[in-house]
Symmetry: C3
Subunit: 431 residues, 3 copies
């Protein structure tokens, strides 16, 4: 499970994906998925036509944007979509018209409290148009007449997403979802597809997997509604755990957002991981939700989806601005997020109910299960070992035992494997 | 559910009832019930003969008092029952005898630490007599001979109580009990019958009621034992929630006393109400009990009866003295108690298990369920709405959801009604 | 249940047992058991041959030691097993050989941080030999040649233990275990067999017992494994509660070590007892275990065994040294431990589920159940009585009620007996 250079590799891939103008639909999503397919050839790209009814929603029209800019009276591009795709409000309808400065400013969004940042704005479900720029830049625009040009199309097309199935021994599934619908921003969202891609690579490198892994790259909200409308029965019957992957690439903190019930295997794996990796991690409540868990955990859907993040969406100043870029998201930040998520998935994959095969404490010396050397470290290992086996009565999973004795699962599992080999522990029942 | 002037109306009615010399039995109880019947014509007044065995108890003789006083050697009434009915120990047997000051003082009860207050004393179950006065007044009585006259009768008669049934759609009942056995004191007890009377009026004004409401006015302890001896099987099978109404008219605080188990619907409705109405409310334990919940929640009776109070009996200095009068109990104090109790009953009446009819989050915009204007207030309303529907999975009642998302039930219920109208929520199961 | 002089009697018996050189096996154990049999004639002494397979273990060879000493070049005994049996490492194999001071020191164990104390060392499961002495004494040994003599035998024999069955009305059993395998140390271990002996005497003095009591004196660890290998099915089916008795004779504190699950009747009786006896008692976790509960509570054995101690093994400086002697263990220390354990056993023996036979509160006055005099003390007794009966609904045991109303079981049980006599409470169901 070595992760050497994984952080840098993810960051490099991020540089390729960053400039693409993703949105809910359109060429940017397709280009993104095609690059991800280079990394994961088994990835299958799918589409759903605009207008399809999906539960209470309808798949929107496809948005295409060729160019967009604001010209001053000298014909200079004072705002230019080519320079930064955040400059145009997402899903802007076409326009070509001349405005006074005052009129232009009514359609120009800035963040006065972050004067260097271009905000990210969309208008998916009501027809509109607009430009975004930094407060500082806006203040340089003189009294003038401005020609506004948005060369876009909003018409029936399709919504794209992609799916990767990694088969395991069981039909039971682990579900991993991430989204690919934001233009040039790095923590929310590029870190999600980057870490998910490398988690998929790691899973495919394993000799064998207990569970089948279902990994999807979708546009947020409408994409998860689309996916659920096709697969919710299957998912409800088969998914044992899962994670929504987002905001997992900066260096500031670690965060956890629970599933709706908060007590699924995913929640237990996530909180166990973070408690041992970064005890000061920030724990949010279901009431702080805001991403695809809103659909995955909705009443009647009820999937066990938890979220491990670094800085949570909405909680860091760079969120949804041009400052959320590949300096905010770093190789080490991505690697930390990757390791945390991978460890939670490792727990899901490996957890089982251990049961001692002998009565009373076993004699470990004759089996070479005692460390040969004696040090503070080996004493603590022996204590963990004896504490662990004292709970192997077939009523608790190894993860539950790890929490009970306050030891990391990743330390206990290899010890448990030695005991299985020695015939002292058996698998009581697949979880 | 407007309560304008309800406080003043209750206080006015209190002025009429205050001077009556109530006791466990006798003319005072009958006069009180007859005035309440003017307010609630459907009220049925009932009686049980003295000597009737009721579980482990026997209905006592009826007490009638015509006059009582202490004359000094000049023939002046130095203590006079006509001036304040607390001056005579309740259930005093007749006497007409002359005593020295020293002898008189042995039968004269005062409160040295509250020298202005006349204490309230009774001797229901052992034959006795006595007078009560203020410490200050006692100290004015000179060395003299005193003629003591109590013109009372204690002989077989009956015990009176009253019952009001307000029918609802269901045979399941909400039980409301209050007591009418104390002479001139206002928080304990007049506030109880006053608020109960106006709760009954409010219930009778409703277009329809889910539950049947059973409201009783009884003498404390022996009255609840009498009532239970007649109806306990019926009550045990039908009562879903209930409240004992007492000490609910002063302005000082709000208090909660749980049912024996502490986790009934009544308890949940009471604590939810008080947490949102007055977060600093005082929460007592079952071990602090002292009124009819002692019978209603007794082993084998097991009714779900909780108590919402303002200042709890035994916990305020005016309790069981002449200072517990209609200056201590105020229109605003009564109105606050009325609103708290009414809100708890409203929760009991309205609570149900909501279940979403669509999968994934619904699109609220197209149904006009989003507020048209956007402000801090509407944002909070939308958040509450989305949090609420995220839990409408048929496993929790609306009250449980309200607690989960920390919103008042009274704010969520109207939103829930809109969702029912829009076909987005259905009633999963009557509670 | 008078315990006058019990502390002194236990301490006197301790003086007789203290000098004996107990070990896992051998003459010292037999001599100890034979003295205990003088106190408890019904005690049955049993044996198991060396080499017997017991679960994952094998009964070790029997160790006999005749003499052991270190001679200096003048032929003087500078270390002498006759002076203190801690001077020889337990289970030392025979040796007769001459060493330099440097060589001797490699086999000489001391405690540099407790320079007056001789440490207690054993080597049960790997063949070895050695001497123990105080750091101060070691420092007096000059450069010299030393003749080391250990006149011991380690060869097939047997392991001894003893069992006492005190029959009760029920086949269900209370199991009490203590160990007799340590040489001259008083808290760990003599206090265990001393208190257990006097608990057995107290049980045999009772007119009748609800439960059958099974009391064993065994060598630690291997003895409990031996005993379980013979009886675990019977114990698992019959034992309702039990205690491991150890470290129960000093004056410093009281301690509690839970069973593995922590919620057995034994745990409840122990914690209730200590909370009322010594609220500052030290509560350990299962992770702090270290005595025979490791076997009794092992997965698949699962006996309800908790431990009440004074200063816990491993937690006091005198532990496993010559300083753990009969000045550290005192008559009052033993008596305190005896009373705590006896009270916990009393709770186990007496607890039952009480149920009121009348509905509503009973009238206690007519039955003389109210105290005749009124004082702060009687008020508190009446409150405890009324609180108690308010919970006698057949759903909770008296111990659970005692915890609920925060009253000592030993205060409630006699009141409960009065109510049973008066016909107001019945035994709902044997626990």
């Amino acid at each position: 499970m070595s992760s050497i250079k994984v952080g840098s590799e993810m960051h490099e891939l991020g540089k390729r994906l960053f400039p693409i103008n993703r949105s809910l639909t359109g060429a940017g999503v397709r280009e993104t998925l095609s690059i991800l397919k280079e990394e994961l050839p088994a990835l299958e790209v799918l589409s759903v036509p605009s207008g399809t009814q999906v539960f209470d929603w309808v798949v929107p029209n496809e948005w295409t944007i060729h160019d967009a800019y604001v010209l001053n009276s000298q014909g200079e591009r004072v705002i230019d979509f080519q320079a930064n795709n955040l400059h145009v409000v997402g899903y802007s309808v076409p326009i070509k018209e001349t405005f006074s400065r005052e009129e232009l400013f009514k359609k120009l969004y800035t963040l006065p409290e972050q004067p260097d940042a271009i905000p990210y704005i969309t208008s998916y479900y009501s027809e509109n148009w607009g430009f975004c720029t930094s407060e500082n830049h806006k203040n340089t625009l003189p009294d003038d007449t401005y020609e506004v040009v948005i060369d876009s199309e909003l018409k029936p097309g399709c919504l794209n997403y992609a799916e990767l199935i990694i088969p395991g021994e069981s039909d039971k599934e682990v579900f991993i979802s991430t989204y690919i619908c934001h233009p040039s921003m790095a923590n929310n969202e590029l870190s999600g597809p980057l870490v998910t891609t490398y988690i998929a690579k790691w899973l495919m490198q394993q000799d064998s997997l207990k569970y089948t892994y279902r990994i999807v790259f979708i546009p947020e909200t409408i994409g998860s509604v689309v996916y659920l409308s096709k697969h919710h029965e299957h998912l409800k019957n088969n998914v044992v755990a899962g994670f929504n992957v987002t905001c997992i690439g900066d260096d500031k903190t670690y965060s956890y957002l629970p599933s709706r019930t908060g007590n699924t295997l995913s929640d237990k794996a996530a909180t166990h991981t973070l408690r041992h990796l970064y005890p000061d991690y920030k724990s949010y409540s279901w009431l702080d939700r805001g991403s695809d868990e809103r659909q995955y955990c909705a009443p009647g859907i009820d999937l066990p989806i938890a979220t491990i993040m670094r800085s949570k969406y909405g909680e860091y100043p760079e969120y949804h601005t041009s400052l959320d870029d590949l300096t905010f998201v770093t190789p080490s930040g991505l690697e930390g997020g990757y390791i945390a998520l991978r460890n939670a998935i490792y727990i899901v994959e490996k957890d089982f109910i251990p049961k001692m095969t002998v009565l009373c404490e076993p004699q470990l010396g004759k089996r070479g299960l005692y460390p040969n050397t004696s040090s503070k470290d080996t004493k603590s290992k022996v204590a963990a070992m004896m504490d662990m086996i004292s709970y192997c009565d077939g009523s608790m999973s190894l993860l539950e035992i790890a929490n009970k004795i306050d030891q990391p699962f990743s330390k206990l599992y290899p010890i448990c494997e030695q005991f299985i080999e020695a015939g002292l522990i058996e698998i009581f029942k697949e979880k």
